[in-house]
């Protein structure tokens, strides 16, 4: 019963809890936190039930207000979308649990609107994942985007400026998207994605449709920070508060990437996108350039959050590269990387938030091995996520790169192979720099403590982050490992059945 209603209950759980957080926050501020947690937990529950139902009985098409799809709006839950919702609500739950101290610390007195906006953000994103209607997608996109602008605007001194840039570029992206939808709507006469796919199969592709697709790619590309359109991302992630970044970074751009996959491979005929308008090639090569460029930028950064932001641009490049391959292996790689990266980046940003709380900064040159001592578990979580980002087995990051590499080799696209390999090394450069400092760099000349001989005297006290922050971080780190080891199950049960026919 609940499984069949899941498509609408998942976003509603978020949206309603956002409104309730606003109302209950009047009574007492912590109540907003509780509401957010309850809302995310409910959404997680519905997502899991939905995924179970989908895996058991096949995709669910939920007709809003009871109208058939081309007339009414359709929410479409297939295994991939279901899994995505589980991921989304799971990470949200963890980040929300984490948020308690961090939000109080970084944005005091604003907890109520913060939790409300955060819930709206995720509600919009989950709607984007499931909706089967292009215009409805735009509405959910704006829900997510507007709350994102708000969340990013509060942080350090520069946050409003970066939020402003995010807003202008994001709105421009939305306008491009809407214009592209207009072109497609005028040419096909329908807004339902499945319906458009049917129309495109029987009709001859025309210039407006091509431009429409291209505009949609540009619009979504702006949202997902594809290479030349990423200008908003580093600033926005750096200056926003830790919890906001930890929420937006892992899932915001990923959902946009997911939409790109949906639009390019499910709404349009992959064959057409690949051969007639070479859209996937463009996306793929932009991704490749973005990987290298952003990795170089990440190496030069001194602030950890900013480095992670640039690394996000690079990781988005991986996804774009997988899309650009336009092959089953590329599809698997892209989707898997979307999932993996969500876990890794969430973990890394949570760690940077814990650093800010306990060390008062997250600047790389200031780190020393005291960090490994003061925050042993947090540092361990960071290490696992970092190793996964580099792409070393058996962490999750290795496997997405593995499939991407397989896909590139399969198509004899040696440029992509080289980009993948070189970027792995660049990732290693900027993550090992931190790991080395965290564990090895001596705190000062006097403190070269011989641990075994004089335990706990020279060593700084263990001052681990509070449990509400530590547990989500560790869960995410464990998730990185589990995702790595279990990836074959996920691929064969969820991703592989979803590979579109034309690929």
């Amino acid at each position: 019963m609940i499984g069949a209603e899941a498509p609408v209950f998942i976003p509603l759980a978020f949206l309603v809890s956002a409104m309730l957080a606003l109302l209950l926050g009047v009574i007492s501020r912590p109540l907003a936190y509780v509401t957010a947690i309850v809302g995310s937990a409910a959404a997680l529950f519905f997502s899991v039930r939905g995924l179970q139902a989908v895996l058991a009985d096949g995709p669910i098409s939920y007709h809003l207000a009871g109208w058939m799809p081309p007339l009414g709006i359709e929410l479409y839950l297939d295994p991939l979308a279901g899994f995505f919702c589980v991921l989304l609500s799971g990470i949200t739950l963890l980040v929300m649990v984490y948020g308690r101290h961090s939000v109080q610390h970084e944005t005091p007195r604003k907890e109520v609107p913060f939790y409300s906006l955060a819930m709206f953000l995720v509600g919009g994103l989950s709607g984007m994942v499931m909706t089967g209607d292009l215009f409805n997608l735009y509405v959910f996109l704006e829900i997510g985007a507007l709350s994102g602008y708000g969340l990013v605007a509060i942080g350090d001194k520069r946050a409003p400026v970066s939020a402003f840039r995010y807003l202008t570029l994001g709105t421009l992206g939305a306008a491009f998207f809407l214009l592209g939808v207009a072109f497609i709507f005028i040419s096909t006469g329908t807004l339902n994605m499945a319906d458009i796919a049917r129309v495109l199969l029987v009709s001859q592709p025309t210039t407006p449709i091509m431009l429409g697709m291209a505009l949609i790619v540009v619009g979504v590309g702006l949202k997902m920070a594809l290479f030349p359109m990423h200008a908003w991302l580093p600033d926005a992630y750096t200056h926003a508060s830790s919890t906001a970044t930890a929420l937006i970074a892992p899932i915001g751009t990923k959902v946009a990437a997911y939409i790109l996959l949906r639009v390019l491979f499910f709404m349009a005929d992959p064959e057409y996108v690949r051969h007639d308008i070479h859209l996937t090639d463009v996306v793929g090569y932009l991704g490749a350039v973005g990987i290298i460029w952003a990795s170089v930028m990440a190496i030069t950064q001194k602030e950890m959050k900013r480095m992670l932001a640039y690394s996000s641009v690079a990781q988005v490049g991986y996804i774009a590269l997988g899309i650009g391959l336009a092959s089953p292996l590329g599809f698997i790689g892209a989707v898997l990387h979307v999932i993996n990266h969500a876990f890794m980046k969430a973990c890394l940003f949570l760690v940077s938030g814990s650093f800010r709380l306990r060390l008062g900064h997250s600047s790389i040159p200031k780190l020393d091995h005291g960090v490994g001592r003061v925050l042993p578990w947090t540092s361990a979580a960071f290490s696992i996520a970092a190793i996964s980002m580099i792409g070393l087995p058996p962490t999750a990051g290795f496997f997405s790169k593995w499939y991407l590499a397989l896909g590139s080799i399969e198509q004899s696209n040696w440029v992509f192979v080289a980009v993948l390999l070189i970027s792995s090394l660049m990732n290693a450069v900027y993550f090992f720099r931190i790991l080395e400092r965290m564990y090895l760099k001596p705190r000062s000349a006097s403190d070269d403590g011989k641990e075994a001989e004089m335990p706990q005297q020279a060593a700084p006290a263990n001052n681990e982050a509070p449990g509400s922050m530590l547990v989500p971080t560790l869960v995410l780190a464990a998730g990185v490992l589990v995702l790595g080891i279990m990836n074959a199950w996920g691929i064969s049960h969820i991703i592989e059945p979803m590979i579109p026919e034309g690929l």
Partner: protein, 159 residues
């Protein structure tokens, strides 16, 4: 309205001129005179949305503009009596919740979300249930729009 002095940028909160009732007799008279009519037109536009252009959003904007005119003429402090700004955001949340509640009541009755013809109102044909469903939903929209626009104005004004 056109003559704004270049104010001191350090003054973060609102201008004193907008806090108290306005000095200008013309603004005062027109605003206070027109505001009730605008509110009335807003209500009309909202309720007549089923038969002519108009509906929740337009009605809501008009209502909000009516309240804002009162804000302009009476000053922020006095107009709190008409519309206290502590309430605005919460009221708009209630409006959105009303929308969701209408949708969910259809789910409770065994239909899909927002399927109005299953609304628990006895004795009406499905078409008229839809009619009232739309109306109920538009009430929610109107409430949200009205109060949110006032809230945004208040926030921008900084009080």
């Amino acid at each position: 309205m056109s003559e704004f002095p270049e104010h001191d940028p350090k003054d973060h909160c609102l201008d004193e001129s907008l806090k108290e009732p306005t000095d200008s007799l013309i603004v005062h008279a027109t605003a206070r005179g027109i505001a009730p009519f605008i509110l009335l037109i807003g209500l009309y536009v909202f309720f007549h949305g089923h038969y002519s252009p108009g509906g929740g959003f337009q009605g809501g904007v008009l209502l909000a503009v009516g309240f804002l005119l009162l804000r302009l003429s009476l000053g922020v402090r006095l107009s709190q009596i008409v519309m206290p700004h502590r309430l605005t955001l919460r009221a708009s949340a209630i409006g959105a919740l009303l929308f969701v509640a209408v949708g969910l009541s259809a789910v409770i009755m065994g239909g899909n979300f927002l399927d109005y013809h299953l609304l628990p109102i006895p004795g009406l044909a499905p078409e008229y249930l839809r009619y009232f469903g739309i109306l109920l939903v538009e009430v929610g929209v109107t409430v949200t729009v009205t109060f949110t626009l006032v809230a945004i104005y208040d926030e921008l004004l900084g009080c």
